[in-house]
Symmetry: C2
C-alpha cells in the first residue's frame, strides 16, 4: 500500500481493508511499505493471481459481496489445483468515483466472510482511483511442502482421469442467468445460477491429492480445455467418456431438455472443480477421500500416448467438442 | 495466469511475457495455475504491490519501456525500504484494445532490461481486456533473513534521521515535465525530469541497512509525509533541519530561482530515496557504506519524544511544510 495517494484512498484502506488484515502481524495494519510472508518450515509458497474488470468479467450490479467472493474463490481454486493450502492474499483495486462506501462495505464484508471460511487473511494491496471501470486484482498465496506441489505436466500414460463434484453447472448457470436456458424448472435454474455465481473452490480436496494424483488443474476454462492443458504440458493424450462425466440433477434436467448443451457442459468453463490424473492403484484411496470429504470423485477417462483430448460418446464414437468459445461472465 | 480468457490473451502472454519467466522453473512458463516461490533457507518473503492507471498515474504516451520500469521500480523501492533483496514479481494487466503489439514489445522490453538490472524474474500474472484505461498492477517479492525486515515502527528517541541520495528531484521533475518550472537551464530540467521518470530504487542500500537502521521507509509520498509515517508508527516525533536536506545541483538551481519550491522539495513525492533512523553510533558504518555504494547518506534530523514532524529553517525557526498536495503523475 504505497505510492502517492490521496487522503480518500488512505481513509478507504484504513476503514474497509485494514480490519481484514488486523489478525496478521506481518501486514502491519496495511500501513507499512510491504508485508512479510513467512512460509512454514519446509514449505514453499504457491502464488496465483486474477484480474476482473467491471463490464467484462462481471456486470457491476451484482451484490459486491458476491463479486468479492468470486474473485477470491477463483484464486483459491488455483491454489487447490496445486495442492496448496490457502494462507494469505493481496488486493489491488482501481475504483471509479461512483463506487461508494456501501459498495465497499459489502465488498469487504464478502471478503471477511470468506476469510473465515477459507482461513485466509489480507496482507497488503493497493487502492487507486480510475476514470474507467472497476478493475480488481487478487493475488493469493498458499503453502505446500517443498517439492510437493501438484502440477499440470505430470500426467502419465495409463493414468485414470478424475474430476471432483459435478461438471457444467457453471457454464449452464451463466446461460440461465442470461435467460438463454429456457424450459428449466425454477429450482434447477436457481441451482445452476448459484453454482456460477458462487464457486466452491476445492480447497479441502487439493492438498489431500498430494501423493495420490500425478497431474492436476482446476476447471476454469472448461473440462476439455483444462484437460487439454494437462495433456499438452505432460506430452500425452487424454480420452474422456462423456457418459462418465458427473452431472448435477439440474444439469441433467437441462440436458434432457436440450441435449446439444453437452458441448456447453464439456466445453464451457467456470466449474472450479478439480481435474486430475492418478494411477489406477490410487482408486481405493480416492474413493475413501471422496467419502471423507463428502465430495464425489469420478473417473471419466484415461491418459494415453499421443496428443490432444478425445471425447467418446456412450457408444464409444468420437464426439467433436469445440471449446465452447470464451463467454465473458457478464451475465452473472 | 488463469480464469477463462480468449486466444488473443493466451497468445499475448506466450509471446510477450512467458520469455520473461523462462529462467524461473517455478513459473512453469506461465502455463500452470500458479507459480511456486520458495524462499531461501531462513528467509522470509516481503510482498509489496502497486497499481497504476493510464490517465491517472501516467499519461499514456510515454515510452512503454519507461512505464514498465517505473511500475517495477516503485515496488523495488518498497522492498528496499524493508531491507529486502528483490527476488520475483507478478504482473496483472488490463489493456484496452488500442494497445498493440508494438506497445507490448516495448513494455516487455522495459521489464526485461530491469530484470537484468535488478536480478528479478516474472513468475506469474494475468492479462485481461478492458473497455477502460490500461490498468497495471505489479506485485514484487523480496527476501530478508527471518525477523530482520526493516519496519516503519522501530524509530527510537535519540536516533538520527538519514536520507539517501538527493531529495525533491522527483517532484521538481514532474513540474519541469509539465512546463511549470520556468527559468531552469535545459540540462537541469532534463536531469530533474529523468529523476521523475526513471526512479532509482535503492535496492543495494536497503538490505545493507539491516542491523544498522532502526526504522525505514522509502520516500514516495514526500519526505515530510514519509517521515511522518515513521514517527506515527513508532510513537515518536521527528525534527528535520531543512538546510541539511541534500539537494542535487539541478534542485539547487531550481530553488535559487524560486525559493518557495522548498515546500515542493520537502513535501512532494516520487523521490524513491530511503529515509531511515539509526542510532548515532551507526554514523561511521553508514558513512563507510555510503562510500562503498557511491551513494550519499545524509543526517537531516533527529527523533524525539512527542508526535509529528517539525521542519526547522537555517536559523532554527519552525517552517510550515504543508504536504505539497497529492499531484497525480500525469505530467510524465
Amino acid at each position: 500500500v504505497t505510492q502517492s495517494k490521496n487522503r480518500d484512498e488512505f481513509a478507504r484502506i484504513a476503514r474497509f481493508f485494514a480490519p481484514l488484515a488486523a489478525a496478521y502481524p506481518g501486514a502491519f495494519g496495511l500501513r507499512d511499505d510491504a508485508a512479510i510472508l513467512a512460509p512454514s518450515a519446509g514449505a514453499e509458497l504457491v502464488v496465483t493471481t486474477d484480474t476482473i474488470v467491471e463490464g467484462v468479467h462481471y456486470i457491476g450490479d451484482e451484490a459486491p459481496a458476491l463479486i468479492a467472493a468470486k474473485l477470491l474463490r477463483v484464486n483459491l481454486s488455483d491454489l487447490a489445483a496445486m495442492g496448496a493450502r490457502p494462507r494469505a492474499y493481496t488486493l489491488n483495486i482501481a475504483l471509479p468515483a461512483k463506487v461508494d462506501d456501501s459498495w465497499l462495505a459489502g465488498f469487504s464484508a464478502g471478503l471477511a466472510a470468506d476469510q473465515e471460511a477459507y482461513a485466509i487473511t489480507l496482507i497488503g494491496g493497493d487502492s487507486v482511483a480510475t476514470p474507467g471501470p472497476a478493475t480488481l486484482s487478487l493475488t493469493a498465496f498458499g503453502e505446500v511442502p517443498a517439492g510437493a506441489a501438484l502440477r499440470r505436466d505430470a500426467a502419465r500414460i495409463g493414468d485414470a482421469v478424475y474430476v471432483s463434484g459435478t461438471i457444467g453447472d457453471g457454464a449452464l448457470g451463466l446461460r440461465a442467468a442470461r435467460g438463454v436456458l429456457p424450459g428449466l424448472a425454477a429450482p434447477d435454474a436457481a441451482a445452476l445460477i448459484a453454482r456460477y455465481r458462487e464457486p466452491q473452490p476445492r480447497t479441502m480436496l487439493g492438498p489431500r491429492l498430494r501423493g495420490l494424483a500425478h497431474a492436476a488443474a482446476d476447471i476454469s476454462d472448461g473440462l476439455v480445455a483444462d484437460l487439454g492443458h494437462i495433456a499438452e504440458a505432460s506430452g500425452v493424450s487424454a480420452v474422456v467418456r462423456a457418459d462418465a462425466v458427473p452431472l448435477s440433477p439440474a444439469a441433467r434436467a437441462a440436458l434432457a431438455a436440450a441435449p446439444g448443451l453437452l458441448a456447453v457442459v464439456l466445453g464451457g468453463g467456470d466449474d472450479y472443480e478439480l481435474i486430475f490424473t492418478a494411477p489406477r492403484s490410487a482408486a481405493p484411496a480416492l474413493q475413501a477421500l471422496a467419502r471423507e470429504l463428502d465430495l464425489p470423485i469420478a473417473a471419466i477417462g484415461e491418459i494415453a500416448s499421443g496428443a490432444g483430448v478425445r471425447v467418446l460418446d456412450a457408444r464409444g464414437a468420437p464426439m467433436t467438442i469445440a471449446r465452447a468459445g470464451y463467454v465473458h461472465g457478464t451475465g452473472a
